[in-house]
């Protein structure tokens, strides 16, 4: 599995630098967290990686693939999936349909096979359904399979959002505040899911999260952003003791 390298990335909106000369590397099969106060540029960075924004300067490399100019669907076809902070699901569709739809790029049959629903078409659909069911089982969503997303609680919708990203079968998963707005019990479940995603699905996880307790507990490596600049990096305990980080979070004395 490939390493993701962000080299000197600057993202400017007019005169404002959302990111300035950020460099970091995401090692395979680890949980790497990106933390920082509001407006630090965390989501902008994820947007650059997933192809929604293109860096003004600098390069993003996934293995030997250059993602700097790639579109979202190209990034996704390289095995990078993302769960959004603001849930991006079809709220009028069921959980199952949302997840099946997320796998549309894995459907490799033509329109004629689809019309007659024979041979390849039905085989592929069955395979997809099986894959989606594994994800439903993994994310413990059995009870919500046939419910429309809009009727579910916020915490469950968040789980569905992560499940949607997982159905792409990613090697690298970008999680943007998966625990925001959850109650304690849902948070505990999500922590367990994130750890299982890393350890049992052998997936690289990039976690953007505000709950520092969670971040310090489960991360292998932490990067800290503030005002678009990288101000700290290291193992969780190193970062926690970094005076710059403390300042960014608690403020100057």
């Amino acid at each position: 599995m490939a390493t993701l390298n962000v080299n000197d990335v600057t993202l400017a909106f007019g005169g404002l630098n959302a990111l300035s000369e950020v460099s970091l590397s995401i090692e395979p099969e680890l949980i790497t967290s990106i933390i920082g106060p509001n407006g630090a540029g965390k989501t902008s960075l994820l947007n650059c990686i997933s192809g929604f924004y293109h860096p003004t300067k600098g390069k993003i490399l996934y293995g030997d693939q250059n993602l700097s100019k790639a579109s979202p669907h190209q990034v996704s076809s390289l095995g990078i999936a993302r769960a959004f902070q603001n849930i991006e699901l079809f709220s009028g569709m069921t959980v199952l349909d949302n997840l099946l739809l997320a796998r549309h790029q894995n459907l490799k049959y033509n329109i004629f096979q689809a019309v007659f629903y024979s041979g390849k078409a039905s085989d592929e659909e069955a395979k997809n359904r099986q894959y989606v069911e594994e994800i439903i089982d993994f994310m413990e969503l059995e009870a919500y399979r046939k419910k429309t997303v809009g009727s579910l609680s916020y915490g469950i919708q968040k789980s569905v959002e992560v499940a949607r990203a997982l159905t792409l079968g990613p090697d690298l998963l970008l999680l943007d505040e998966p625990m925001a707005g959850m109650n304690i019990e849902e948070k505990e479940d999500m922590v367990r899911f994130v750890m299982d995603i890393q350890k049992e699905r052998h997936t690289t996880v990039v976690l953007v999260e505000h709950d520092l307790g969670v971040v310090m507990d489960i991360s292998d490596y932490v990067y800290v952003l503030d005002f678009g600049q990288l101000i700290g990096a290291g193992q969780p305990n190193e970062v926690a003791e970094n005076p710059k980080v403390v300042e960014a979070y608690i403020g100057e004395e």
């Binding site: 359904r129 594994e134 439903i136 089982d137 413990e140 059995e142 009870a143 046939k146 049992e200």
Partner: protein, 642 residues
């Protein structure tokens, strides 16, 4: 039938083998997994038990050793239990919700050597108490999810590895399994069922193969089941209510057991299976009732109109059906329309369309709920029993359902009422006693009779009526027994009475304080143009006194025994409330506390010279302000009582 007698000579594993010989390719177990229903035939089920037993033997389980299971309902709970029983070991279920401390105590008490857990959640509990349970040699788990850190530790074992061990052992000695199960005797103890002790450590009732099989057989003697019938297993395995079905009934009749995908999906899965019989605590039927009401509420107006009309027809028809009387022709036609137009489609939505019989037990179910289900055409019946008699010992018969009784004994069960009014039973399903508790066992079983700890009597139709826990009943000054809770519940059938507190322990008659229902009585008053300001005002209106008086007269007319009748009552000026300490958190009345708090009222109830009394009511508002209001409280005497 010769089949039935044959069945009684077997142990549970022997009976399983016999089932394979009878109908090996029929589906025995079905489990929903990854969105699909997967099946196991009797042959496959038996094959798993075979592997499991030999595997368990390989890891050191011996005759009379104990194996505990902490698991949701999955096929492995039966496979592992029966696998252990095949060796002559004893299985035992522990509630999944138990805390680690409780689990440690139970494992220690039962001398458990192997524990089976379904997933990481339960395994983690054992890890937490590992140093307190040195007797536990192995922990088996079914779901490998999250177990990566434990894999290197040989205290833990994945169930598939056990199967592999078992397969190897089978290849070495194909005869071994048959030898093992042939050594079993129907009278051997096969399972410990925990009984919920009200205090301290639960007791383990030692149940034998014949206890379970006899129970399953006698139950189906009354209510016949076909081998093609379906059952959904969603009750906790540690509860006798589940074991009696999945060990007793299923093996005695050959029905199919269905396992839900997860605890949360059980009700959805019920809908998909459409079982032919189900058993549950009253809470399940209450939940389903709310679901039905919700469905009706969400439906469009024509449906609601039909429902409202036909539910009345259904209730009328139900009263005939429950008593076994022939319906008038016109009612039969109407009831048929109601069933086809409204009720069948309705109960199909909750998976009850194929249900021939539904049983409720474990606690009392309100008569309203009974009538409700019977009106919909769901044959809901009360059962009564206890863990120590393998669950069911008394049951309603079709066409002879009385909402206030628990029915008549199963075939082979005898019943008598002791001099203290306690219900005693005797049957082949009575336990051998509690594990390692000879004194408690001696208390439980006296001269071959099983004590229930419940007070009851047999009514004129021969039905058993359970009154209350023996420890909660009261006696009047003549020593006649009555149950305050029983009478309160009866009084509360009146929609106008929200709460009632019955007194009379050691007194010459029964007296009660009554809380009117503010909503129903308020509406009643409004409809009649009776004006009132507060609850206190309403409760003391003479019209309301008349209304409640009528309810009490009605109550006195309907009670089973003359000494149950109420002689004096008063209508309380405030609602009993949790915040005032008058009710428990679960809404039960705290009789002693109320008696002390309203001592002057209590005294006045037993002083017939008092017909009214000024009382000072003290109120504390949410913001901490207090107020005292004076009101006149009237006391009423039912002159015809005694």
């Amino acid at each position: 039938m010769e089949d039935r007698d044959a069945v009684l000579q077997y142990t549970i594993p022997q009976l399983l083998r016999w089932r394979v010989q009878q109908s090996g390719d029929k589906v025995a177990l079905r489990e929903k997994d990854f969105g699909y229903w997967n099946t196991l035939t009797w042959k496959e089920y038996y094959d798993y038990v075979h592997k499991t037993a030999l595997g368990l033997e390989k890891i050191g389980l011996k005759k009379e050793d104990k194996l505990a299971l902490i698991t949701d309902n999955i096929p492995e709970m039966l496979i592992v239990s029966i696998g252990a029983q095949a060796i002559g070991a004893i299985s035992a279920g522990i509630y999944q919700t138990s805390l680690p401390d409780e689990i440690a105590d139970i494992l220690d008490y039962m001398d458990v050597s192997i524990v089976f857990c379904d997933d990481q959640e339960q395994v983690d509990k054992l890890v937490e108490i590992r140093d307190r349970i040195p007797g536990v040699k192995k922990v088996l788990y079914e779901d490998p999810r999250g177990m990566r850190d434990y894999r290197s530790d040989d205290w833990f074992m994945f169930i598939d590895d056990l199967y592999v061990l078992g397969e190897k052992a089978r290849a070495e000695n194909p005869e071994r399994f048959d030898q093992l199960i042939d050594a079993g005797h129907p009278d051997d103890v096969c399972h410990f069922c925990l009984t919920s002790g009200t205090t301290g450590l639960p007791k383990g009732a030692m149940l034998t193969h014949i206890n379970y099989i006899n129970m399953g057989l006698q139950l189906t003697e009354v209510d016949h089941l076909e081998a093609d019938d379906e059952y959904v297993s969603f009750l906790p395995f540690a509860w006798i209510g589940e074991q009696m079905n999945s060990f007793g009934v299923a093996l005695a009749t050959g029905i199919t057991i269905n396992f839900p995908e997860s605890v949360e999906t059980a009700m959805e899965d019920l809908k998909e299976i459409g079982p032919h019989f189900m058993f549950g605590a009253p809470r399940i039927y209450e939940t389903l009732q709310s679901q039905i009401w919700l469905k009706i509420d969400e439906s469009y107006w024509l449906n609601r109109l039909f429902y409202r009309y036909f539910i009345k027809v259904g209730e009328k028809a139900a009263s005939y059906r429950m008593s076994g009387k022939a319906m008038p022709f016109s009612l039969r036609i109407l009831a048929w329309f109601g069933k086809s137009l409204v009720f069948l489609p309705l109960i199909n939505q909750i998976g009850m369309q194929r249900l021939r019989r539904a049983y409720t037990g474990g606690a009392a179910l309100g008569p309203d709920l009974f009538t409700f289900y019977q009106a919909l055409g769901v044959n809901l019946k009360q059962i009564y029993g206890q863990t120590e008699i393998t669950g069911i010992a008394y049951m309603h018969r079709d066409g002879d359902v009385h909402p206030d009784t628990v029915g008549i004994p199963l075939p082979g069960t005898e019943c008598k009422i002791s001099e203290d009014g306690e219900i005693l039973s005797c049957s082949p399903s009575v336990t051998k006693g509690y594990y390692k508790m000879p004194e408690k066992t001696a208390e439980l079983l006296q001269e071959g009779w099983l004590r229930s700890g419940d007070a009851g009597y047999i009514d004129e139709s021969g039905h058993l009526v359970v009154i209350d826990r023996l420890s909660d009943v009261m006696h009047n000054s003549k020593g006649e027994m009555f149950s305050p809770m029983f009478l309160e519940n009866k009084l509360k059938f009146s929609p106008y009475i929200k709460e009632a507190v019955i007194f009379g322990d050691g007194r010459e008659y029964i007296a009660t304080l009554i809380n009117i229902d503010p909503i129903v009585v308020g509406k009643w008053a409004e409809d009649r143009g009776i004006s009132f300001s507060t609850f206190m005002d309403l409760s003391q209106r003479p019209e309301i006194a008349d209304l409640i008086n009528k309810q009490v007269v009605e109550f006195n007319k309907n009670v089973e025994k003359p000494h149950f009748r109420i002689r004096r009552f008063a209508i309380l000026y405030k609602l009993l409330d949790v915040d005032d300490g008058e009710l428990t958190k679960t809404g039960k009345i705290r009789r002693k506390f109320i008696q002390e708090k309203y001592e002057d009222l209590y005294d006045a109830l037993y002083d017939e010279s008092v017909s009214e009394k000024m009382v000072e009511a003290f109120f504390q508002y949410q913001d901490g302000q207090t107020a005292t209001v004076e009101t006149k409280l009237e006391f009423f005497t039912m002159e015809d009582v005694k």
